[in-house]
Amino acid sequence: MNDEPTDRGAAPGLHRSRRQRSPAADCPAPETIWAAVHGELPPGPLRDVIDHTATCAACAEEWRLAVEMEREEKRAVAPSPRPRRWARLAPYLAAAAAVVLLVVGLPHVKHQGGHNPRGQKPVVLLLDDGQELPRSHCLLRWLGPQGATYEVEVRTRVGETVARKQGLTATQYLVPESSLAAVRSGTRLECQVTATLLNKPSSTPILLLSYSASRPFALSLGSALRAPICIYLYITNLPAPAPFFEGFCTLPSSEEVSRKQRASGEFGTNQCSGT
């Protein structure tokens, strides 16, 4: 009873089984399940995902796959067996390596005039969960480490790039309306922002935001090597229907937005669309 075993390979009940296994509309995104397995979701969304997994065969399978992959990862990075002498020396070698890194790396940081990535804030997208962005003013904003350059990519869920911009120093990007012209209203898009510090893009912590229509968003921090910074957007046509006007305001929810910016009304004014 260590697994959910019973409908595996239910060929005669194929139709029913496949229907059960195909993700439903309320299924969390695979990225969310991945983040949940890695313990990168806040408690509330994590429990929602587990709850869903309890009653959804497709998501349960995805969960098991993620667990298996995580264990494979751990096995892959696990050090190969070494003589005990080396094992005893490992902490000292690590300390020595850290000292060397400090001595060699510090002047380089100063020379670049940049900031040590360690201790820097991760990239935080200033977008709310369930956010709908108008086609004519699809403004993406984020907070990131000081001195970083950014690469932004907006793509469909099947990986087709809709818009891409590299070398941004500003922490915002207005997706050209022409790029979104072919995108149907209501399409779910992924937005990825990658910060590069000292020409080392993988050193920046990243934020994974995923969203599904019927569930609260899930927020987690992860590694750039493992998951992109993603938020799913719904592109809509303007003018917006009046009852949904508020849904088009990209008011930042992040507490990291400085009070000064809030007081000046920088946000929430030029990002609101509609009439």
Partner: protein, 90 residues
């Protein structure tokens, strides 16, 4: 022959349709029963059934290992009772 890649033998006995169908029903029954458990127990049992060890479940859910173990134990007990009530016995 152990360790070699298993080959599909068309002549080998395959699971019969009845047992496959019964398996699917049991799977559905387990999901139904899981859905009826108290939430903490459901969370613990779900992670247990998904192959997590008690320590992993405790870490994920922010519980102590003792609490996770207790909830898995009680949850499995509830699950067993529910399945028995549905006429499914080990």
């Amino acid at each position: 022959m152990e360790g070699e890649r298993p080959e599909v033998d068309p002549a080998a006995p395959q699971p019969d349709p009845e047992s496959n169908c019964a398996g699917a029903e049991i799977g559905q029954a387990i999901r139904d029963c899981l859905g009826r458990l108290l939430r903490p127990r459901r969370l613990a049992v779900t992670l247990h059934l998904q192959g997590h060890r008690v320590a992993e479940a405790a870490r994920l859910l922010g519980w102590s290992a003792k609490k996770a173990e207790n909830l898995v134990y009680r949850g499995l007990d509830d699950l067993r009772s529910c399945l028995t009530a549905k006429g499914i016995r080990p």
